[in-house]
Every structure is written in structure tokens, then in C-alpha cells.
Assembly symmetry: D2
Homo-oligomer: 286 residues x 4
């Protein structure tokens, strides 16, 4: 199976390598073209523009850093739109907002081509190990055709229905995660201030019904008041805001998420936006 691949950042490069290693023929493009060299050594072809990749391949996957990049690759000169057409499929795996995703979807559809938004859950390590979770939404036929690629890239993929549902599902998950991190931080501070050993709290939690990888991975550093950025607090806060905005539209009360969001805002006020989102612990603890 032949696929195009646009965007060779940390995530995209790891994903493209996995496709190559699993026997896919891959044509890659990256804004800084020299980044394609490593892939070429592993057998990839190189496309000099997004439109060149689209022209060559029936299916093209994009993994860009943000909404601006995702839009630029599609709408700018030499972009996706110049060559996309009936019979081709475009799969955007970048994490973008609902609006960006819909804008790209509309433009691709107008050209008669098929579209999937397919944001992923998981960062560098899962990308390298083909252990991503893929939240796809849009054209179901295209989803079915992409399953072999998704099986290489992730441990599991979901088809969630209409475009926008992938982004929404990510918001719901990240909202729960933000509130949990806040509750966990409250627990750590309460334990510490009431004379309990915080490491023991981590051990007790890890043996019970709410044991989870996040507490396990982040807890020890948090006790040391260390918050090396994996998922920046400002992004977590943005996701809380967007989830709350979604809940506001449809009148779903979310008092815990709302309370958590206010501390994330406070943390940004205290210049912790670029720390890991676990730094909400620091804002509570100060």
C-alpha cells in the first residue's frame, strides 16, 4: 500500500518510519526538506511540495504541529488542494480544533475527495512503538481503507462518526485528565501538610481501584516539585476551556472541571504555562 506523509516532526517522523518498516511505500514531505533525508535512507520517496505528494499518492496522511500548519499545507500555494481530487483520500492526524478540521474537510470535499480527521492520543514513545490510540472521524469508507496503516501506527483505532467527533472525544478525555490531575494534586498537598508520607500515598493509590499510569508516572516528580513539560499546562488549560465551552453550549453542568480550570488559569497567571500540566500541584501548594 502506498501513502503520502506530510510533516516529519517528532511524531510524524516516528510514524512514517513505522509505516516504512511495515512494508508501506511512503512518499514524504516536510517544510524543511532536509528532514526527509533520514526517511529516504530507509526507503522513502521524497515529494518537494504537498501537492506533489498528493498527486502521486491515493492516500496522504498529514501530521502537522498546529492548526496554522494544518491549514497552510492545505490552502497555500503548492498545497493539498491543488492536486486533491475524486478518488483520493486525505487523513489529517494533527491535533486541531473542530473549526480548523471542518474548514479543511469542506475544502477537500468540494474537490470530490475523501477526508478523515484522526487525532491521536499518545506522544513520542507510543508513536515510536506503534502504540498510539487513533480517534478517526469523517468518511467511513476511507477509514476502512486506512485500517492497515492505523494498525501499524496505533494499538487501537476508533471510527467516531462525523467530522468533529475526533476532536470532541479528545477534549472529553483531556478534561477528565485535567480534573483528575487537580484532584491528585490536592491529595498530595493534603497528605504532606497533614503529616503523611507522600510516597506512601503514591504506593497506596497504586494498589487500589483508582491506580492509573498518570499518577504512577507523574507522582514521584511532583513530590519533588519538578514539572518537566511533557504536556504543557497552557495546552491543558486550553482544553479545559474548550471542553467547558462545549458543555456551555449544550447546558451540561461540570462544576469540577470549572473549579479545576480556575486553578489552571491561576497557574498561568503565575507564569507556569510552559511547565507540565502537573504544575497545577505547584499552584495549589504555594
Amino acid at each position: 500500500m502506498e501513502v503520502g506523509f506530510l510533516g516529519l516532526g517528532i511524531m510524524g517522523k516516528a510514524m512514517a518510519i513505522n509505516l516504512l518498516r511495515s512494508g508501506f511505500k511512503v512518499t514524504v514531505w516536510n517544510r524543511t526538506l532536509s528532514k526527509c533525508d533520514d526517511l529516504a535512507e530507509l526507503g522513502a520517496s521524497i515529494g518537494t511540495t504537498p501537492s506533489a505528494v498528493i498527486k502521486k499518492c491515493k492516500y496522504t496522511i498529514a501530521m502537522l504541529s498546529d492548526p496554522e500548519a494544518a491549514l497552510s499545507v492545505v490552502f497555500d500555494k503548492d498545497g493539498v488542494l491543488e492536486q486533491i481530487s475524486n478518488g483520493k483520500g486525505y487523513i489529517d492526524m494533527s491535533t486541531v480544533d473542530d473549526e480548523t478540521s471542518t474548514k479543511i474537510f469542506m475544502a477537500i470535499s468540494k474537490k470530490g475527495a475523501s477526508f478523515l480527521e484522526a487525532p491521536v492520543s499518545g506522544s513520542k514513545k507510543p508513536a515510536e512503538n506503534g502504540q498510539l490510540v487513533i480517534l478517526a472521524a469523517g468518511d467511513q469508507e476511507l477509514y476502512n481503507e486506512m485500517v492497515p496503516a492505523f494498525d501499524v501506527l496505533g494499538k487501537k483505532s476508533f471510527f467516531l462518526g462525523e467530522v468533529g467527533n475526533g476532536a470532541k472525544m479528545k477534549l472529553v478525555v483531556n478534561m477528565i485528565m485535567g480534573s483528575m490531575m487537580h484532584a491528585f494534586s490536592e491529595g498530595l498537598v493534603l497528605a504532606g501538610e497533614s503529616g503523611l508520607d507522600q510516597q506512601t500515598l503514591l504506593d497506596v493509590l497504586d494498589l487500589g481501584a483508582i491506580a492509573n499510569p498518570m499518577f504512577r508516572m507523574k507522582g514521584p516528580a511532583m513530590i519533588q516539585q519538578s514539572y518537566p513539560p511533557a504536556f504543557p499546562l497552557k495546552h491543558q488549560q486550553k482544553d479545559m476551556r474548550l471542553a467547558l465551552a462545549l458543555s456551555d453550549e449544550i447546558h451540561v453542568p461540570m462544576p469540577v472541571a470549572a473549579a479545576a480550570n480556575e486553578t489552571f488559569k491561576k497557574a498561568r497567571r503565575l507564569d507556569m504555562g510552559d511547565l507540565d500540566f502537573s504544575a497545577v500541584h505547584k499552584a495549589i501548594n504555594q
Copy 2:
């Protein structure tokens, strides 16, 4: 090793059986004495009063249903205090509040005996399988002597320092659990109302960094709006209240726990106190 065992409710009976099966000599007592028969068949001796058990055994474990029962067994006629003395140890594994625990501790100490509070995390199943988590606090020497018994009863035991720390540790864990359950419920309602499949949300959560046994076990029933009581909501609310009271004394801000508690209160107002604590989902959803 010989131990006394006071209280053969669901938890106590399973625990006493495990001790017998592992070769401990056990003398049991229960308020309704007939409940001792099954244990006698497995080789247990029977004590007709708490004081008789204490007199016979160097170590006595109690597993009573609530603070009233825990106090009654110690202070009433034919109770623990009548025979406890220097050289003996009393281990109360009931879940009681800090104050009750301290009252029992003071009385036992006055008699020259040793005391451990040792509440457990885990319910019927873990009790049967010897998979409890034991949160012990009080006399460290007594703890060391009890480790062989704790190894039979639980997958892990902790010594947490002075009397009261066992109860506090349980509060911290349950507070985090209550807030998590609230956040999870918000997520389920948000997903449902915004057109996402709730079962898919469960599947996505279970593959990610916040996957945990509680979401896995409770989620499917919650989607069905079914909340069969395992841990009653009114007890969860009480633990939220006590954790917040503790945080109030020592000035630890816990806005998420506070917000969650208000919904648990609302749920009690709506007569959901005897449902499972996952019924907070119902209060949000109505």
C-alpha cells in the same frame, strides 16, 4: 501464631477464614454467636465474649461494622478493656474516624497494652482473596509482630506512624476517588450530550494514561444509569466532608474536592444516599 478475631461480618469472616487456612490458630467471637459455627468447622475456637478472647490470646484483631460497634466491643461489659493488659496487642481493622480510633487507643494504652489502627482498602472480593491493602498506624513493634498475619490478609501493608494516620490516609485516597468519580461522570454526560458514544469513551479511556479499575468496573453500569450500591454515596459524601474539614484545619485549598462535595450533597438531597457513589452521575445527568 495464635490470634483472637472479633467480628465475623462479610469482611471479618473472610479474613478469619484466610488466617485459619494459612495455619493460624484463631479464637473467634461475634455478637450473634451462631455466626461462629462455620469458623469452628474450619478449626477455630470460640470465645463467648470479647474479654474472653482477649484473655486467651496475645493478639486480637477486630473487624467491626462501624464506630459504635468498635467502641461497644471495647468499652461495654465483658469488653476488651476488662482483660487487656501489658504484653497484649489489640489491632482494630474497622473503618472508623480519627476520634473513635484515638479514644480506643487511649483506653488500651492506659491498660499498658499495645494498639494498632489498621483500616483496609478493598471490599468483599479482596478480603476473600487476601488482597486487601492494610493501612496500619500506632505501635510499630506490634506492627512488626503482626506482619505474618497482614501478609495473609492483604497484598500489601503499610506502617504509617502515629495513631490517626491510617484514618487520614484513607480519607485522602477516598477524597481523590470521589473527585475522580465526579470528573468521570461529567465526561460521560458531556460525551452523551454532544453526540459521542459513551461506550467508546470508556474504551478510549481504558487505553490511555488515566485508565484505572474504577472507570472500567463502574463505567458500563453508569451508562445504563444503574448504580447498585457497593460503596454507598452517603459514605463517600461523608469522606469528602471529613477530608475537607481536615484541609480546613490546615488551610489547604481543595477547590475540586469542594465542588465535588456540593454535588454529592445535592445527590443526598435528591435521595440518592443509599445508591452507589457512582450515582453522582445521576445527579449531574438529571
Copy 3:
């Protein structure tokens, strides 16, 4: 002084009458032209289109029902833009959002004319009695020229600086009001449920440091669980949302407003959106 006046709803009609009675020459327009008749009897001239009014008058005040009406009067055929020009002033006293206000401001400026946004605080009664509070922002010279008219319409007018500040000031005030109403409602329910007489609570409040017209006016009806719509709950909730969105942009934590907003959302979920915003009491009380 001669002014144009666009929009003769409940508010606009009362305001135009006050101007006429104070000796202003007024040319009125309303979408349903027949509504101009009462004003004509009091001495007003009638303009058949917004552009006709603008052409005739150096200053034109608009008091429209919502952002759509405010935009339509300016941008549609026979609208304000067709005749507005250098030397003329346009004063929009409608309550609109920041974005709408800015859009109108830009279009008016492009034509070389001056602009003020001037939303008011106060409803029908204060409009009739010339007791509005006017929150003006935009062109300071135009503000100075309009002071004689503002003195007729309101008990006080403020010049708040750049366009957008009028809308923001209203948001801040309404946010405080929404949180206060929520706190007041909590107090009423707490008093009632703990056996205190609610009317007595009103009397006590009215004698103390937090006595205010809102508690005085709304309290007695709230005790009767009556919420006749003066300021609809859905509008209050929208203002809470917008104030929270503003605070989110600039990282100001507002945990009380956030908590209040969640109950307002809940109230809308329970179909109370068209009741008075004091119905948040009903949502707490149920």
C-alpha cells in the same frame, strides 16, 4: 439640539419621549413605522429609513433589541452607512457584544464619522424616569457633545475610553450580580432548611452592610418560588459565560463566578432559561 432616534421598543420609546419633553428636536424611525405615531403626536418628526434619519440629523442614537438588529440597521439597504459621513455622530445604546460593537465602529469610522457605544444599565422604569446609567465608550469629543442628551436619559453617564469598554463594564457588573444572586439563593435555601424564617432573613439583610435593591426587590417573590422574568436567566448565564471567557483570556481566576455559572447552566438544562435569573434559586432548591 436635534437628534435622530432609531428603534422605538420599550426602552427606545421611553427614551425618545424624554428627549422630546426636554426640548430636543427628535426625528424617529422604527422598523414598524406605525410605532412612530405616538412620538409624532408629541412633536417628533418621522424618518422613513435609517439613512433618511442620518441624512437629516447631525447626531443619531440607536436603541435596538439585539446584535442582529443593530447590524441590520447599519449595514442593510437604506441603512446608516448610506448617509453617515464626516461631521456626523452615531451613538449605539443597544446592548451588544464586543465584536458587534467593533464591527459597527469600524464601518462608521471608515466613512469619517464619529462613534460611541453606550449600553445602559437599567430597564423599563429607569428608562421612563430618565434614571439610566450610561456606559459610553469611543469618541470622547462626541461623548462631550452628547452629554446634554445623556443628562436627560440617565442619572449618570460615564466615558470609559476605547470602544469595547462599555460592553466589558456591563459584563463585569452583571457577573458580580449573577454570583450575588447565587449566594443570596444559597442563603435563602439554607435559612429555610435550617428552620429560620426566610422573610426575617430578608429583613435582617436589609438592615446590614450588604443591603441592596436586588435582594429587596427579588427576595419576597423568590421565597414564594415565583420568578417572573425581568432579566431572563438565559441572558444572565450568557453574561457569566462571556465574563468567564474574558477572564480566561487574561488569566484572572474567578472560582465563584465559575461555580455560579455551572448552576445557571444546570438551570437551563432544567428548562428555566426563560424564567427570571433569580430562578437559580429554584435550581438550588429542587
Copy 4:
């Protein structure tokens, strides 16, 4: 009419003077007896102990600084209990908790005497001007007999029913006040950070439906970040805690009070407990 008066602190002295000036015969006592001299000059008799005052007077009013002083005056040697008896009345106007009030009530009742708790709303100024608000509860006959004195001491007195209701009413009022102060503080910070003039916000508020003496009196200092203690933040926080505890018992959800309380706790954590309760503004603003 003759009354005894125990306690000549800032409040008590002002109140006793008012009684004297209105023609009451007053016998005063104070722990530091020299403080009685000023009153003697105005015509008061002096009692050397609380019991001496009780013996002499049919009615005795107490105005002590805190629960400890209120209990000591009643229960200690030479205290109220030694002389109180059938036919006499004891009126405790100190601000104490429900439990303290009930303890005193029980002891007084046992002696056959009548009791009123009658905490006041208002501080030094209103005490001097006879403008207190009196929240009486207990023996209704005694209340009726005391009305002439209450009319001198306050602008209004209420009879609230059984002992405990006076304390509860104060809690409800102070809870609303604390939440309002929090909402007001959020508004001040939001205005400041979004480029609005904070003094103008005060002016606008003071012209509208939520205008109240507290905003008017505290606002200007708060803008200057000055919080001279009138009602210490730690006392406000304690009242929030007690009001929340009351609501918890009877399952009344109070999410706004709960959110406000967390910031008051935070402020205490940041060592602002001895500042005025308006310093919650500082905690939000930092």
C-alpha cells in the same frame, strides 16, 4: 428599668452608655474593674463580680469577647450561676457558636431562670449610635420584657425562636457576605486586568441594583490593596466553614460558598488571616 451589664469592651461600653443615657439604671461589671469608672461617672452602679450583678438585677445583659469569656463569666467562681434563679433573666449578646450558646442556656435553665441569646450585627459605630441589629432567640417572654432595652441598643431587634437560631441567622448572613466579597473581588481584578478603571466600576456599581454599603465602604481601600482589619479574614473563613458544615448536615448544596471558602483558606495559607476579610481580593489578585 434596671439591668445588669457584664463586659465593657468596645461594644459593651458603648451599649451600656446608651442604656444609661436613656434612663436605665445599670449595674456594670468588667474583668478589669477599672474600666467601670467611666460608666460610674455617668451614673452606673458597679458590681464586683458577675454573681453580685446577677444578685442585684432582675435582668442581666452580657457582651463578652469570645466563647471562652462567655463561658467563664457563667461557670467560674463568682459567676452567673451562683446567683441566677427563678424569675431572673440572662441575655447573652456575645457572638458565640451554637454549642457554647446551648451550654449556657442549659445551665441557666436548670436554675429556673430565663435565657436569650442575642448576637448583634454591626460593630463599633452602630453600637455607639444605637443602630445595632439584634438577633434574639430563646425565651419569648424575656424577649418581650427586653424590648425597651433592645430599642435603645439597636435600630431593630428580631425574635427568632429557639436558642441557636440567633447564631444560625448570623452564619447565613455572614456566608452571603463572604461570597459577595469574593464576587466583588473577582470583579475588581477582572476590571483592572481588562483595562477598565476600577474606581469607575465602583461608581457604576453604586448606581445600580446591587449597590450596597459594603462595596461602598471597602471598595476604595481594596483598589489601593489596603485591607485594614475590621472583620478579620480568619473569622470570615470560620463563618464560611460553619455555614458549610450546617449545609452539609441538611444536604443543602452551596457551590458558590464552597468555592469562596477555598480562596479564604488559601488566603489563610498565605498568612492573610489577620487582615480584613476584603483581603480575599489580594489572594485572587496575586
